[in-house]
C-alpha cells in the first residue's frame, strides 16, 4: 500500500491557521507524524481559500523539506502553483492531479516530464465524471496514451484515480470504482498504478472512519495500490496493512503491523 498522507491541506482548520500565521512548526509536526505513522508520501494542498496560492505552496514545501525528503504530492489544479511546488520539492514528486481533459493533459504531462514527477490522472473528461465503470476505464486509457505520448513509459509513474464520491451522495459509485480498479490493470503491461482520494467516500457521513477503512479494504481487494488518506487514523492504516497481508503482499509475522511501519520508515 502506497500511502499519501492527506493532512497537510488548507481545508483542515489547523493547517489553515498555520498557513495564515506562517507557523512552520505545525506543518513540520504534521509531516513527521504522518511519516512516522507509515505514510510513503505527503500531499500538499494550500486549501480553497488561499489568497496567494503560489507563495503559500512554496512556503509549505520549503517547510516540509526541512524535516523530510519523502516524495510530495503537489495538490492543485493551477498549473503555475503546480510548477512552483514541483520546482521546490525536487524530482520524484507527484502531480496531484491532471484529469483526462485534453487541455489538462497537454499542460500536466509535459510538466511531469520536465520535473521527473509522477502523475495522478483523474478519470474526468470534458463531460464530467462518468456514470459507470466503462466510462471511467475509457478515460483512463486516454490518460495512459497521453502519458506514453509525453515520454512517461514507466507505468510506476502513473497513478489512475477512478474518483470515489461520498456514499451519501451516490451509493452506486463504490462498486463502479471497484470495477474500474480491476479493469485498469488490463490497460497496459506493466499496468499503471491506481489511487483513490479515499476520505471522499465518507464525506458528510456520521461514521467516517468506519466507512473509510471498510472501503479501503474493499478497494485493495479490487486491486487498489495507493490511497490519499489519513495515516494518523491508526485503525485505517491497520486495516489496509492487514488487507495486503491477507492478499499475500507481505510475509506474515506476529508483529506484522510493526514490520510494515518499520519497513516504510527505513525506505
Amino acid at each position: 500500500m502506497y500511502v499519501i498522507g492527506e493532512r497537510i491541506n488548507g481545508m483542515f482548520k489547523d493547517v489553515r491557521g498555520a498557513i495564515q500565521e506562517r507557523n512552520a512548526e505545525v506543518i513540520r509536526k504534521l509531516a513527521k507524524a504522518q511519516l512516522e505513522a507509515g505514510a510513503n508520501a505527503l500531499d500538499v494542498n494550500v486549501g480553497p481559500a488561499s489568497a496567494e496560492p503560489k507563495e503559500t505552496m512554496v512556503w509549505l514545501v520549503k517547510t516540509i523539506r526541512q524535516v523530510t525528503k519523502a516524495p510530495l504530492a503537489i495538490d492543485t489544479t493551477k498549473a503555475e502553483v503546480m510548477e512552483a511546488g514541483l520546482a521546490e520539492a525536487g524530482p520524484g514528486s507527484i502531480i496531484n492531479s491532471t484529469t483526462g481533459q485534453a487541455e489538462k493533459l497537454a499542460v500536466f504531462m509535459p510538466l511531469a516530464q520536465k520535473h521527473q514527477a509522477s502523475v495522478i490522472g483523474l478519470t474526468i473528461d470534458e463531460k464530467g465524471i462518468p456514470r459507470d465503470a466503462a466510462g471511467r476505464t475509457e478515460i483512463a486509457l486516454r490518460i495512459v496514451a497521453a502519458a506514453f505520448e509525453n515520454g512517461i513509459e514507466d507505468m510506476q509513474r502513473l497513478f489512475l484515480d477512478p474518483i470515489i464520491l461520498p456514499v451519501n451522495v451516490t451509493q452506486v459509485t463504490p462498486r463502479h470504482v471497484m470495477d474500474t480498479l480491476r479493469e485498469v490493470h488490463l490497460l497496459s503491461d506493466p499496468a499503471p498504478r491506481t489511487v483513490l482520494g479515499l476520505s471522499n467516500v465518507s464525506q458528510g457521513t456520521a461514521l467516517r472512519s468506519l466507512i473509510n477503512r471498510t472501503y479501503l479494504v474493499m478497494a485493495i481487494a479490487a486491486g487498489l495500490e495507493a490511497a490519499i488518506m489519513d495515516p494518523l487514523d491508526e485503525e485505517l492504516m491497520n486495516a489496509g496493512i492487514t488487507a495486503e497481508l491477507l492478499l499475500n503482499k507481505q510475509v506474515y509475522c506476529d508483529d506484522y503491523l510493526k514490520a510494515y511501519r518499520s519497513s516504510v520508515k527505513s525506505g
Binding site: V251, Y252, C253, K258, S266
Partner: protein, 321 residues
C-alpha cells in the same frame, strides 16, 4: 528474431553486512568480509548486481567430536582437541574464509563448561587466525544466556557474528552484540514468519537491521533440505520485493546437517552399493551447500575440506559474468 531474456525489475536489495575488524577499525583481523548487497536472485548476473561472493566458513568445535567418521576426522588429525590449531589448519591449509567457532562443550549434556572457558577459547582462536569469526553458543538456551555475554566481551571490537537469537531467547545475546560491536545471527526453525518476528524483536531492542544475518535451521540433502531451500528462496524474494524485515543476508549450517545423513557417513563395508565414503561423504556435503547457494545463502558453514574445495570452485564459476 533473437531471444530476449526476460529481466525482472526488483524494488529493493539485500542488506550489506561487513564482518571482521582490522587494526584500522580497532580489531585484530587481517581481513574483512562483506556479505549481501544482491539486487537479483542468485547468480542472475544479467538481471542485477551480486556485488559480494558467498563465503565458506569452516566450523571448529571447542571439544573433540566423538561421533565423527574417519573420513571426516582424518583431515584434522592431531588438531581436533585444540580449537586454535584446528582453526589455523582450516584457514592455512583448507582455505576457510571465516571460522565458525561452536562452543559445544558448554552444553549441560556435554562437559557443562562455563563462561570463563568460553572466553578463553574465543581469545585463543582469535589469536590463531586472522579471518573474521562466527561465535556460536552450545544451543541450550539457558546455558547460552550464561556464556555468550562473556564470549562476546572476549571478542569485543572484532566485529564477529554471534549466534544465535531465537524468538524465545534473544534479549541477552542482542544486548551483548550491541555492547561489544558485533553482528547477530537470528534463527528460526524453517519458518519464515518466525524469522521475520525475531528480526523485529531484535531491531526493537535497537539493533540496526544492517547488523543481522538470518539462519533457518538447515536440513541436509535428503533430510528436509528442500524445505529450508524454499523458505530461503521465499525470504530472498521478499527482500527483493522490499520487505525490510527479511532483507538480511542468509547463513546455512551445511556440514553439521549433511553429515547427519547415513548416506554421507556410512562405510563402504556396510553399504557397498553406495561406493566409497571418502568421495560420497564430501560430495553429500558439497551438494547440500551448492543447493543452498541457489537458495540465496551468503555464508556456508562447512566441515570437510574436500567439500569446501569443491564448493569454492563452484562459487568461482557461478560468480563469473
Amino acid at each position: 528474431m533473437g531471444f530476449e531474456i526476460p529481466v525482472e525489475k526488483w524494488a529493493s536489495a539485500v542488506n550489506t553486512v561487513a564482518l571482521g575488524a582490522t587494526a584500522a577499525e580497532g580489531g585484530t583481523r587481517t581481513g574483512k568480509i562483506t556479505l549481501g548487497g544482491e539486487t537479483t536472485l542468485p547468480f542472475l548476473h544479467f538481471e542485477g548486481e551480486i556485488p559480494n561472493r558467498p563465503v565458506v566458513a569452516m566450523e571448529v568445535l571447542d571439544l573433540e567430536p566423538q561421533a565423527w567418521p574417519e573420513v571426516l576426522s582424518a583431515p584434522f588429525a592431531g588438531v581436533l582437541n585444540d580449537p586454535a590449531a584446528w582453526a589455523k589448519k582450516c584457514v592455512e591449509e583448507y582455505g576457510a574464509e571465516m571460522i565458525c567457532l561452536r562452543l559445544s562443550s558448554a552444553h549441560p549434556d556435554s562437559l557443562n563448561t562455563g563462561p570463563e572457558q568460553a572466553a578463553t577459547t574465543v581469545k585463543k582462536v582469535l589469536g590463531a587466525v586472522g579471518v573474521p569469526l562466527i561465535v556460536w553458543g552450545c544451543g541450550n538456551a539457558d546455558k547460552d544466556t550464561e556464556i555468550m555475554p562473556r564470549a562476546s566481551e572476549a571478542s569485543a571490537g572484532e566485529n564477529c557474528l554471534l549466534g544465535s537469537a531465537t524468538q524465545d531467547n534473544y534479549k541477552t545475546i542482542t544486548a551483548a552484540c550491541l555492547a561489544d560491536g558485533h553482528k547477530l545471527i537470528t534463527e528460526a526453525p524453517i519458518d519464515i514468519n518466525i524469522q521475520k518476528q525475531v528480526n523485529i524483536l531484535v531491531t526493537e531492542m535497537g539493533l540496526d537491521p544492517g547488523r543481522i544475518v538470518m539462519f533457518q535451521a538447515t536440513g541436509g540433502l535428503g533430510y528436509g533440505m528442500e524445505y529450508a531451500y524454499s523458505i530461503m528462496e521465499r525470504t530472498r524474494l521478499a527482500a527483493l520485493g522490499g520487505d525490510k524485515m527479511l532483507s538480511m543476508p542468509m547463513l546455512a549450517v551445511v556440514g553439521q546437517e549433511a553429515w547427519k545423513a547415513k548416506e554421507a557417513k556410512s562405510l563402504e563395508a556396510d553399504a557397498p552399493q553406495w561406493g566409497s565414503e571418502k568421495e560420497r561423504g564430501p560430495l553429500w556435503e558439497a551438494m547440500t551447500a551448492t543447493s543452498f547457494l541457489q537458495g540465496g545463502t551468503d555464508i556456508l558453514v562447512m566441515w570437510h575440506p574436500k567439500a569446501v574445495e569443491m564448493v569454492k570452485g563452484t562459487i568461482d564459476g557461478l560468480m563469473k559474468k
